[in-house]
Amino acid sequence: MRELTYADALREGLREEMLRDPRVVLIGEEIGVFEGVYKVTRGLLKEFGPERVRDTPISEAAIAGAAIGAALGGLRPVAEIMYMDFLTICLDQIATNAAKMHFMSGGKLKVPFVLRTQYSLGRMHGAQHSQFFPSIFFQVPGLKVVLPSTPHDAKGLLKAAIRDEDPVVFIESGVLYRTKGAVPEEEYVLPLGQCDVKRKGDDLTVVAVSRVVSEALAAAAKLEEQGISVDVIDPRTIQPLDLATIVESVKRTGRLIVASDDVKSGGIGSEIAAAVLEEAFDSLDAPIFRVASPHMPIPFSPALEQAYMPNADKIVQAAKKLVG
């Protein structure tokens, strides 16, 4: 199968959806003339014109707000917020307007738009350009949250997000943009709310998210050499969360690690651990471990940033404590 980078797979997904549906418009900073800070929108202004590829001023609240309004008016906007850190600037629009519109209108309003963003942990961008805080969205019913870990998933999930009737926060990983992976030539769309089992194993379940999925797979390969076989599960979306697949795996392995780039306290790992305890307490043979970032802002210094981040070694260490 041919290989594409994560960025090109996303670009192909955007392009296909723009060709398929004239209601799809792109809104964001530097997406047109500059073709996206990470070139995800390369060539799209030229192909679709400024009516459909809308460069904006540096106005995150207006980008998110305009995407909501455009969706109310019948378009299918894909808005881009350049760094996940900047989501806090427009969180009112996402969390307090978009997420609640369908509900508080008694089901009358629909706001089908995608808010694409990326987090740059691992790219030496420092404390204000690297943050990853998806678990905030566990507290915001009404949004869907997608976290693709491979080029294949990135394209298929983006196409699904654009076709979805609900507002979707689509969080990409900056370090993954240049990574390559197999992407079919023929069209495909992946479902939202379905885990993907990236590797099968029987001794331990590792649930990993976004950038950390490849670290978990590397850890699983090392553990295999030591006779520990690992189920690696990528939830791909945390809202909705396919808990059933995770619980089924844990019932089989009896052991769970949740590995993700967010800060450990109140993070993805906390939520999944608690949910698994409620569903599969009797199946657990050991405590649940979270491998996540420490409770501190992200340091710039490359060596310190590497030490800060979850990686395969940290997952291996946690696994050895569990499977003794």
Binding site: A67, A70, L72, H102, F103
Partner: protein, 339 residues
């Protein structure tokens, strides 16, 4: 901004030239009357009968803005509203009984009882696309609605309402700037009632006026007497025509005044007595009635007839709301996601 005074009302209007037929003027009066009687009834339901609870922000005194601006739109144009939205909804033609049922939290309400007073104006069936309770946040959303209408190319326009307080938010700045950059067909109607809760606009708004802020975005900015429904209508019409013809957005500042306080429980006692008295003399409904009598387009009997019909409709809405059921809690989960 400078302390705002009631501006002179339109002294002479060539009714015929402006297409202000008797029918149109009477429908303006009727809309204002519907808003006034509805809101007075709501106030009684809160304060005297204890039948309603929660935050509610009445439109009493500002009727000319909603009636004038919205009647200048076509039926298929879109609006967005705010937490002070009962008046906008009524002017856009949302049935009173559905509004009242929403205030009662009933399944028959505009939002099935899930929105409440602050979101009651959400009624896409009549082109009322949203009502936000976060001050200023509807402004960029209106810009987006305008983008969709611009792209649709059917010459429809969007109109959004907000208050003087909203003009101090970042969302106002971002939304207005982007609207002007994109030249979207949006009319930004600022209802300057001179107070954001108790904070006076002449304290909190640093610019000369709110309309003056439009200059910063190379947008048209116009200030009108918001207590004259005719003045609001004419100014809105001009802005709507420009937007329809691709000439971009307008910021329309309507100088008006709340008859009561910020919310239904607020008596507005922080406002100087003389100021209240001065504005009470300029009641938008009495204002229009006097004008209609002066030009022989109506008689007291006409007003009495409208009044009677409106009061009956308001009472019906209360009966409908009281008799309606509450949505079963088990059904709520259906409304979180479309699917």
């Amino acid at each position: 901004m400078k302390p705002a005074k009631p501006t002179d009302t339109v002294s002479y209007v060539d009714y015929e030239r402006h297409g202000l037929t008797r029918e149109l003027l009477l429908s303006m009066l009727r809309k204002m009357m519907e808003i006034r009687r509805f809101e007075e009834r709501v106030e009684r339901l809160f304060l005297q009968e204890g039948a309603l609870i929660g935050p509610s922000h009445l439109y009493l005194g500002q009727e000319a803005v909603a009636a004038g601006a919205i009647l200048a739109l076509n039926d298929d144009d879109l609006i967005t509203s705010t937490y002070r939205g009962h008046g906008h909804a009524i002017a856009k033609g949302v049935p009173l009984k559905l509004l009242m049922a929403e205030l009662f939290g009933k399944a028959t309400g505009t939002c099935k009882g899930l929105g409440g007073s602050m979101h009651v104006a959400i009624f896409p069936e009549k082109g009322s696309m949203y009502a936000t309770a976060i001050v200023g946040s509807g402004i960029p959303i209106a810009t987006g609605v305008g983008l969709a209408l611009q792209r649709e190319g059917k010459r429809r326009v969007a109109m959004t309402f907000f208050g003087d307080g909203a003009s101090n938010t970042g969302a106002f700045h971002e939304g207005m700037n982007l609207a002007s950059v994109w030249k979207v067909p949006v009319i930004f109607v600022c209802e300057n009632n001179m107070y954001a809760m108790s904070t006076r606009a002449d304290y909190a708004v640093a610019s000369e006026s709110i309309a003056a802020r439009a200059q910063a975005y190379r947008m048209r900015g116009v200030t009108v007497d918001g207590n004259s429904v005719v003045a609001v209508f004419l100014a809105a019409k001009e802005a709507i025509d420009l937007a329809r013809n691709g000439q971009g957005p307008t910021l329309l500042e309507c100088m008006t005044y709340k008859l009561k306080g910020h919310g239904v429980y607020d008596k507005g006692e922080y406002r100087p007595k003389e100021e209240i008295e001065e504005w009470l003399k300029r009641d938008p409904i009495e204002n229009l009635e006097a004008e209609l009598l002066k030009v022989n387009l109506a008689t007291q009997a006409t007003f009495a007839q409208i009044e009677k019909e409106v009061e009956a409709e308001v009472e019906e809405s209360v009966a409908f709301a009281r008799a309606s059921p509450v949505l079963p809690f088990d059904e709520l989960v259906k409304y979180v996601y479309v699917r």
